[in-house]
């Protein structure tokens, strides 16, 4: 083992990591020290990652052009699967999913942008910022189903809202559309998809140098001008990332549509699930490929905006500051 590391070292007279350069003397330590710091470890891991994770995701697109017999794929190119998904799920499900996801994304953006601005630059209290910071981070690590299931007894026919409204005499009979309806699904999405919209916008705004804002003020700029000409252009990458991180998972959401929408509001995810359970893998793949195509189209602006601010390397640099 040790000799292998030494051989590798002799082939590469310059240590691969400039920072650890001459200080990282590996004589006599062999593979142990070499392994954890070398960028070859990263390349090795990346290879495994690409083969094990990215290849299956890419092959999905290939599967969508194949036929299935039982559990086997038949390697014969066809568009059958795409015809199947329009027959099976049909345009209504696809259009409804897109419409609901787009509407909620816009609502989130309208709520989240000013809020992120306030959180990043408005509030002067660190305690307030840390509190919201934690409140917005914790939901990522909670079970989506646990967070959603209780809406049923709040919004249901005999639920809390109906009981309160009835006892106050505002309504005489329970309102039905509070649950298992499209408005209910919209409402159910707003809470869970707020943090993924706030986070990227918040990060991009907090990376704006305060001196820029002060300079704008000192030069007599009205806050509205500062917002329009400095903050919004610099926050665009965050906004685009927020849209991607909200819209994409919402399209594939399994929980909210099922628990709050019941069987009445079918979305794409349930169609993919149904297609796989009936073993129409090609059609399921076509459906997923369709979602992927949408995501790719959505990501183009993200890639372009990140390029325009100097790429991901710039984000690294700002992290280090």
């Amino acid at each position: 083992m040790a000799s292998g590391a030494r051989a590798a070292r002799s082939r590469r007279p310059v240590w691969p990591l400039p920072g650890f350069g001459p200080s990282f003397d590996t004589r006599g330590k062999g593979l142990f020290v070499w392994l954890p710091v070398s960028h070859w470890t990263v390349y090795g891991f990346t290879t495994v990652w690409v083969l094990g994770v990215l290849v299956p995701l890419v092959l999905l697109v290939l599967f969508s052009f194949l036929k299935t017999r039982g559990i086997q794929f038949i390697f014969e190119p066809t568009l059958r699967a795409y015809l199947d998904i329009f027959e099976y799920a049909g345009w209504p499900v696809i259009l409804r999913s897109l419409r609901i996801a787009a509407t909620v994304t816009i609502i989130e953006l309208i709520i989240a942008f000013p809020f992120a601005l306030w959180l990043a630059k408005g509030t002067r209290s660190d305690a307030v910022r840390l509190t919201f910071f934690t409140l917005l981070m914790v939901p990522f690590f909670l079970s989506p189903a646990s967070r959603t299931i209780v809406w049923r007894v709040v919004l249901g026919r005999n639920g809390l809202v109906n009981s309160v409204l009835m006892s106050l005499g505002i309504i005489d009979e329970p309102v039905d559309w509070l649950l298992f309806s499209e408005p209910a699904v919209h409402f159910g999405f707003i809470g869970p998809y707020f943090p993924p919209m706030v986070w990227p916008i918040f990060l991009s705004i907090s990376l704006i140098d305060d001196e820029l804002l002060e300079a704008s003020r000192d030069l007599g700029g009205h806050p509205r001008h500062t917002l329009r000409h400095i903050i919004i252009p610099l926050a665009i990458p965050g906004v685009v990332a927020g849209i991607v991180f909200t819209f994409v998972p919402m399209l594939g959401d399994t929980v909210v549509a099922h628990l709050i929408g019941g069987g009445n509001v079918l979305l794409l995810s349930s169609s993919i699930y149904d297609l796989i359970t009936v073993m129409n893998y090609a059609a399921a793949a076509a459906m997923a490929a369709f979602v992927l195509a949408l995501i790719l189209i959505l990501q183009l602006p993200l890639i372009i905006t990140i390029r325009s601010i100097g790429g991901v390397n710039e984000i690294f640099a700002s992290l280090r500051r």
């Binding site: 601005l117 409140l135 909670l142 806050p223 594939g252 893998y281």
Partner: protein, 270 residues
């Protein structure tokens, strides 16, 4: 810049905070209400009274149904956490100093752009239908790891991107061995990232549902168990409330500990 002299601006600020707080309220209201309903004797009535711990008693009286799923979820969670710690440490230490870090980071973050159900379906088709492998614990671990690793890596990068290499150089000049430099200088400084990536890995695996649906093949994790119960018969729903409350409390505590470790001491630079 907000909250300045203009009255209209002050109103706008208040409105912003009020609406944003309402969105946060929409996240936490159902969680708190879940806790309240779990100590209600008749949770399906919509009104919490009368209160009582009957469902918790019931939950712990008959542990047969959920003990196996809990054990499996704990096992998978620990395995995913271990994978996350090791790989996030290996990659996270080297990545900020590499030339192609931007592109590599994108490669690792790519799965975040795929809805869970698409990832689950793709893995199922690739590993089972194409390669003919039998799904089981390994595929659950793989699916959860793919979901958790980007988060673990980001947590690690928060720490490693700020790591000052002069520290290890100084230690080296003072005669510390490579092992000493790692164990006594680097590891303590990276500890928050290591702990956070482990916690995040565990929690994301422990609560994962959409990928598990496809990758389980007969195995039942806790979220799958709760999911099946909540979609089926009504009588066991109150039990789900009690159990979900316990899981949520445990997850929240772990997350807050991890976040405090990761960001504590550093004055919020955001």
């Amino acid at each position: 810049m907000t909250g300045g002299g203009y009255p209209s601006q002050r109103i706008a600020t208040w409105l912003t905070v009020a609406v944003g707080s309402f969105a946060v309220f929409l996240i936490y209201a159902p969680i708190v209400w879940l806790g309240v309903m779990s100590v209600s004797e008749r949770p399906l009535s919509g009104i919490p009274w009368p209160l009582g711990s009957v469902w918790y008693d019931e939950l712990f009286r008959d542990t047969r149904k959920w003990l196996r799923p809990l054990e499996l979820s704990l096992l998978i969670g620990v395995m995913v956490a271990a994978c996350c710690v090791v790989s996030a440490t290996l990659v996270g230490r080297a990545l900020p100093r590499m030339k192609r870090r931007g592109g590599l980071l994108m490669v690792f973050l790519l799965p975040l752009f795929f809805p869970g159900i698409v990832t689950g379906g793709a893995f199922f088709m690739h590993y089972k239908a194409l390669l003919g492998l039998k799904m089981g614990v390994w595929s659950l671990v793989l699916g959860h790891f793919v979901w958790a690793f980007p988060f673990a890596l980001l947590a690690m990068l928060v720490v490693t991107a700020r790591f000052d290499e002069r520290l290890t150089e100084a230690a080296s000049d003072l005669g510390a061995s490579a092992w000493h430099r790692f164990w006594h200088i680097e590891a303590p400084l990276l500890k928050p990232g290591i702990v956070a990536s482990g916690f995040f890995g565990f929690l994301l695996s422990f609560n994962e549902l959409p990928r598990s649906i496809f990758l389980r093949s007969g195995e039942i994790t806790l979220p799958l168990h709760l999911w099946a119960e909540s979609s089926s018969h009504v009588s066991s729903v109150p039990l789900i409330y009690a159990m979900s409350t316990l899981i949520t409390i445990a997850s929240t505590v772990l997350t807050v500990i991890a976040l405090r470790m990761l960001f504590f001491g550093r004055r919020a630079s955001f």
